[in-house]
């Protein structure tokens, strides 16, 4: 492992969500620059401000890849912006050695009216390449992006997939920096292209110091040598990828769930295969799954539709079961049951949420996302990272 190319020393950055205040502070801070002094009280927050990053100390060496995980708003992007030198820290210091490449805004500067080829020149120039360097590599870019048929058509005729392929191809072929910043850019295109991107990046990663932000835990786990978990602007933990990611995923459980309902409506119980869904609940892949929800409601007949939603360990919605219209009867309570003969949810951790809507779906009676969780297990090891797995009939001739 080589020398430290990225060093962050107790870095802090303030942020203000109130637009008017923020613009005003921007003006004041700019004028302070002219007085050649730092902010009057660097540690004090002005009205409306909060610490978007606080006390962050990190070091990344050549050949090392630091995965950065954290929820939206945890301060990951702010940290990356400071490391790339776009904004200044309010506290602490950042020291960067060597050339910096950032794959953040793929396809920066694309003009939809121009052809793919013309846009390669623009985008690559923005990434710092000379016309001659671009000319030398343009065939390689077109080939990498698998766009030889469409390269002389205007970019606005491209599908969104082709657009990101072009953007990624330019960056991937061009970028060979000492310090590489990747912000959620590896999840582009179809599976084959994604694999190609990851392979390409893993080659570059060997000779650079890399900081890598992704919401796809398996990818972070596979490519990072260490993982840093950022929450509320602070570093919660830095360490072995599997260890940190496990703790990070577990933190989702601790978050208070949401339960809202219209007057007179309430969810009284929810059962998954006859048990309250919790950390210990386990079901098998390709095995039956049933969910029963007991609901209290105003004592008259309602025509409702019920939805159960399954989200993966990072709380991304993956699968939904939505009922036809059902009648509740006048009893003032109702039980809704959903049954699957075979659940295709892949092994791993899952979250369950439910909702009850009136027939017209224009409003809701109950929305419940209370962090109910369960595990799917399987004896098989070959599922990979996809979240749904079909049990198919196979044939070969």
């Amino acid at each position: 492992m080589g020398e430290s190319l990225i060093i962050c020393d107790k870095v802090g950055k303030k942020f203000c969500r109130d637009l008017r205040n923020s613009l005003w502070y921007g003006l004041v801070d700019s004028l302070n620059e002219l007085r050649r002094r730092e902010v009057d009280e660097p540690d004090a927050l002005r009205p409306g401000e909060f610490w978007s990053n606080k006390g962050i100390s990190l070091e990344v060496k050549r050949g090392e890849c630091l995965g950065l995980v954290g929820r939206n708003g945890a301060g990951k992007t702010t940290l990356l912006k400071m490391i790339t030198g776009l904004i200044k820290p309010d506290q602490g210091r950042i020291r960067i050695t060597g050339t910096v490449g950032a794959m953040i805004a793929l396809g920066a500067g694309f003009n939809p009216v121009l052809t793919g080829r013309e846009n390669i020149y623009v985008n690559a120039s923005i990434l710092g390449l000379s016309t001659r360097q671009i000319e030398d590599r343009i065939d390689e870019i077109v080939e990498f992006g698998e766009l030889s048929d469409a390269i002389d058509a205007p970019v606005r005729t491209y599908s969104s997939g082709m657009n990101v392929r072009l953007g990624f191809a330019v960056a991937a072929v061009m970028v060979k920096p000492d310090v590489l910043i990747l912000d959620e850019v590896l999840a582009v295109g179809d599976l084959a292209f994604r694999n190609k991107c990851l392979t390409r990046m893993s080659v570059i990663m060997k000779t650079s110091a890399v900081i890598f932000v992704s919401h796809t835990s398996p990818i972070v786990n596979r490519y990072s040598s260490r993982v840093a978990w950022l929450d509320g602007g602070k570093l919660v933990k830095v360490g072995q990828p599997s260890e940190v990611i496990e703790e990070y995923s577990a933190s989702f459980d601790q978050q208070a769930g949401e339960m809202t309902s219209q007057p007179g409506w309430a969810l009284e119980s929810i059962l998954l295969n006859g048990q309250f869904p919790n950390e210990e609940s386990t079901i098998g892949w390709n095995e039956p799954l049933s969910i029963t929800a007991s609901v209290r409601l105003p004592a008259q007949n309602h025509r409702v539709r019920v939805k159960f939603q399954f989200s993966d360990s990072e709380q991304r919605p993956i699968a939904t079961a939505f009922s036809e219209t059902m009648e509740t009867g006048n009893a003032g309570n109702a039980q809704f049951e959903m049954k699957l003969d075979r659940s295709l949810l892949a092994p791993g951790k899952w979250f369950l949420s439910m909702a009850v809507f009136p027939e017209d779906l224009l409003s809701y009676h109950i929305l419940a996302n209370a962090g109910w969780t369960f595990q799917v297990s399987s004896g098989r090891q070959d599922f990979g990272t996809d979240r749904i797995h079909f049990q198919a009939q196979w044939k070969h001739q």
């Binding site: 016309t131 694999n195 390409r200 080659v203 000779t207």
Partner: protein, 301 residues
């Protein structure tokens, strides 16, 4: 050959340079002005480095602009022609009193409008280019000066085409050019320099507050009537004083003199304006660099 091998073989093996040879940057809250020499050096290096990008951006905007249009380059002189036709119509029909000009009136308006447009376009262009490029330099470390330079390139291109038309206008209206006529180019450059200097100075506040570009639009529209663009400087009264205090009056009058008379009496004043504009331009460029991280931070909201 597998996909992996194929890719690896195409990426040249990186020889690890010794750390002593690599550039080192340090970011902290300290003001960039603490090291003024370093800052000026940085600006110089960045400007030199971004010349290629500015050229590519200029080329991109030019191609994109005309690829979506049937009338193409006609739009470069349409605004100037409109002003000439409007004022020639107003004066020929005596809706507005006719003015005593030493060259045919349409040619008089044409010269004035070309110079004024050079100023007004250069005044609004820097902020417009900065805002248009912000999507890129808010995410990537790219010199925003490249976008501004590309904008000036576009203005220069438009003006070059208008100059060709000025030649045609002179021939049609039988304006005999003086030996100093090529100096009109200097007049146009000066108008751009003055407008550009004010435009660059306005970027920091204009990128934060939308009011600025609106105010500039109003001032420019009104300013044309305080400059001898479509009529001469009033003979007396407080409006004459306003004209006299307006540096663009000097630039327009000097350019007209150079076109059809000779060196005239405005040379010393134009030199002063040129020096002041150049200084303001430089000052605005430095200011923009110093403020840039704060602008990126606040515009990104």
């Amino acid at each position: 050959m597998s996909l992996t091998e194929n890719l690896e073989s195409r990426i040249p093996e990186k020889t690890e340079p010794s750390i002593a040879r690599l550039p080192v940057v340090e970011y902290s809250s300290a003001s960039a002005l603490r090291n003024p020499a370093g800052l000026l050096m940085e600006i110089g290096v960045e400007l030199w480095r971004c010349r290629g990008l500015a050229w590519v951006l200029f080329h991109r905007d030019l191609m994109a602009q005309y690829r979506q249009s049937y009338l193409g380059y006609l739009w470069i002189f349409a605004p100037v022609l409109t002003t000439v036709i409007t004022w020639t119509f107003l004066t020929s029909q005596n809706i507005v009193q006719s003015f005593d000009t030493d060259i045919p009136y349409p040619a008089y308006v044409f010269v004035g409008t070309v110079i004024w447009t050079a100023f007004s376009a250069a005044l609004t262009q820097p902020l417009a280019s900065f805002t248009a490029g912000s999507a890129v330099f808010m995410k990537l470390k790219v010199a925003p000066e490249a976008f501004i330079l590309a904008g000036f390139g576009k203005l220069a291109f438009d003006l070059a085409i208008r100059l060709l038309m000025l030649v045609a206008v002179c021939i049609v209206f039988k304006v005999a050019p003086a030996a100093t006529a090529p100096l009109v180019l200097v007049g146009i450059t000066l108008a751009m320099l003055l407008g550009g200097a004010i435009g660059v100075l306005l970027i920091p506040i204009g990128s934060l507050y939308g009011d600025v570009s609106r105010i500039v639009g109003m001032v420019v529209a009104f300013g044309m009537y305080l400059t001898p663009v479509v009529y001469p400087v009033p003979a007396a009264g407080w409006s004459r004083t306003l004209f006299e205090w307006n540096p663009m009056t000097t630039v327009v009058l000097a350019s007209r003199d150079w076109l059809s008379h000779g060196i005239g009496s405005h040379l010393p004043a134009t030199i002063v304006i040129a020096a002041a504009s150049a200084f303001l331009f430089l000052f605005g460029t430095v200011l923009l660099r110093v403020f840039l991280p704060h602008l990126v931070e606040r515009m990104g909201m």
